[in-house]
Amino acid sequence: MELDTELVKNIAKVARLNLTNLEIGKLKKDLSDVLEAFSKIEEVNTENVKMSIQPVKLGNALREDVPKKCLTQEQSLSQTKNKQGGYFVGPKSV
């Protein structure tokens, strides 16, 4: 499968990455090569085969619904300069 410039630009937009024309050119080539090699998986018969979303069988992990100790507000805010009045400050969302 060949990736074209428009498709790479669209994926980058979805993935929140600004790519230069140079980066787009390189990615187009690299990823087309990779996808061409990986596309051979289509020849495997997977009729009635279920997906493995984990390699081992695991059940639901549940615990008693009681409050437990969690991070304090101070700890949660400790890793950023962008904070005010006990809240994170972020970019405009609307």
Binding site: E42, S52, V56
Partner: protein, 434 residues
């Protein structure tokens, strides 16, 4: 040993910093280095990426807390491919140094836990390193650096506090000079953890009891595809010598086949790993922790700016490919299809484990390549290097790489077991090591 000096020469650390919380315990006197992607409280834990530079977790990973509770001393964070994205430790994040092979500095350490393997080889003190493997990131550098690399069953050691690469593949593991050190630390760190919903709730064996245990009558399967095209002759020779050693000790050795795994394993592994990686990295957007700027513009502009400036080339490549393979219109053909073939690959291994105690192959098809040669590889050629290690990682199987042979550049011998059969691979590994 002066770690600062060592680091100037080999770049095995991102951060050198001591931490001890208890003086007594089963691991008293043991120094433990920790791959940068594993959280240590108040110690920068950046997963080797500029995107997380300066991030100091407010908690320990469960495995780190367990060794601290037993008197071990943490000595710092080891260098790696950013987020684990590489087989050679050459995809370090922007501004991070690449570790060099401890035997020959013109060669790679292997990746992504390259700093851990390099330091383990050079350390002249009692030391074990915490590594992490998604698709071979412990076995590969262990083989190239000539040390023991142990990757447990998926879920055997808690992933709590591990900076995610691919959640269904990531396993915290150990790199050490000896199998015994791996077994001793594994007894401490293995086990169920309420904080990791994918950790396995099963009893933990006394792994050290399986050291030096007779292997007479044990059934070992040699994976025939692992010895076919692309294997360097000295790797094959060292592998065959080791097989003879196991036969001499009374093991029953037969050839087995994993056709589907070897034909499709790399494609399936990379598609799943990149889909999961692109999802995981979506949370890194310049707010709350890690790289940040003054939050200006709308959220799309701000997130895109911070991410574009701080992810390196390989991270961007994996984000783009992973996002593509999950997009509407392509998802069925790539992600879903790969996850179905993963089931067939797991079944292929499970069928063999009905008749064999362990499976063996060389760890890597070659000795550590030269840095200049790796620079010439295309991304696809890079990914193909994981052909021997991606299978057990996809299937979540415990595996260990042991240095074998007497040549100058190290060669790894890999032993794989069924889920939760860590004891068996320790048993066989300790015989190989003798």
């Amino acid at each position: 040993m002066n770690l600062e000096q060592l680091n100037q020469e080999y770049h095995c650390f991102n951060i050198i910093q001591d931490l001890q919380e208890k003086e007594e315990g089963k691991l008293k006197g043991l120094k433990i280095s920790v791959k940068d992607s594993i959280c240590v409280k108040d110690m920068e834990s950046a997963a080797g990426s500029k995107m997380l530079e300066g991030y100091k977790p407010v908690f320990h990973a469960t495995a780190v807390q367990k060794v601290l509770n037993e008197g071990a001393t943490i000595i710092g964070k080891t260098s790696q491919d950013c987020f684990g994205f590489g087989s050679f430790s050459m995809n370090t994040g922007i501004g991070f140094s690449q570790p060099l092979n401890p035997i020959d500095k013109t060669r790679v350490t292997g990746g992504s836990s390259g700093g851990s393997a390099c330091l383990t080889k050079l350390a002249d003190f009692d030391h074990v390193s915490f590594g992490e493997s998604t698709g071979g990131s412990i076995a590969c550098p262990a083989a190239y650096c000539g040390v023991v690399g142990f990757t447990p069953t998926y879920g055997r050691i808690s992933r709590y506090g591990l900076i995610d690469y691919g959640n269904s593949l990531d396993k915290l593991g150990l790199i050490a000079k000896t199998v015994k050190q791996c077994a001793e630390v594994l007894e401490i760190v293995a086990g169920h953890d309420e904080k990791d919903s994918t950790s396995i709730d099963a009893p933990v064996d006394q792994y050290t009891k399986f050291l030096n245990k007779d292997i007479k009558g044990l059934k070992i399967g040699i994976i025939k595809e692992s010895l076919q095209e692309g294997i360097e002759s000295e790797v094959k020779a060292a592998f065959e010598l080791t097989i003879n050693k196991l036969k001499d000790k009374g093991a029953i050795v037969e050839e087995v086949s994993l056709p589907l795994t070897f034909k499709y394993g790399i494609s399936v592994y990379y598609l799943i790993a990149m889909c999961e990686a692109s999802t995981n990295l979506a949370k890194l957007c310049g707010i709350r922790y890690g790289a940040e700027e003054k939050p200006e513009g709308n959220f799309n502009e701000y997130f895109s700016k911070v991410r574009s400036e701080n992810f390196n080339e390989e991270a961007k490549r994996r984000i783009i490919l992973g996002t593509f393979a999950r997009m509407s219109g392509f998802r069925d053909a790539y992600y879903i299809k790969a996850a179905k073939i993963r089931t067939l690959i797991i079944n292929e291994y499970k069928e063999l484990f009905k008749n064999y105690d362990v499976l063996v192959s060389p760890t890597m098809p070659n000795v550590a390549p030269k840095i200049e040669d790796v620079k010439k590889l295309t991304p696809l050629q890079n990914y193909m290097m994981d052909v021997l290690v991606c299978g057990p990682n996809l299937a979540g199987l415990p595996h260990i790489s042991i240095p074998v042979g007497e040549q100058t550049l190290p060669i790894g011998f890999m032993i794989m077991g069924d889920h939760l059969q860590e004891s068996k691979i320790i048993q066989v590994a300790s015989e190989v090591e003798k």
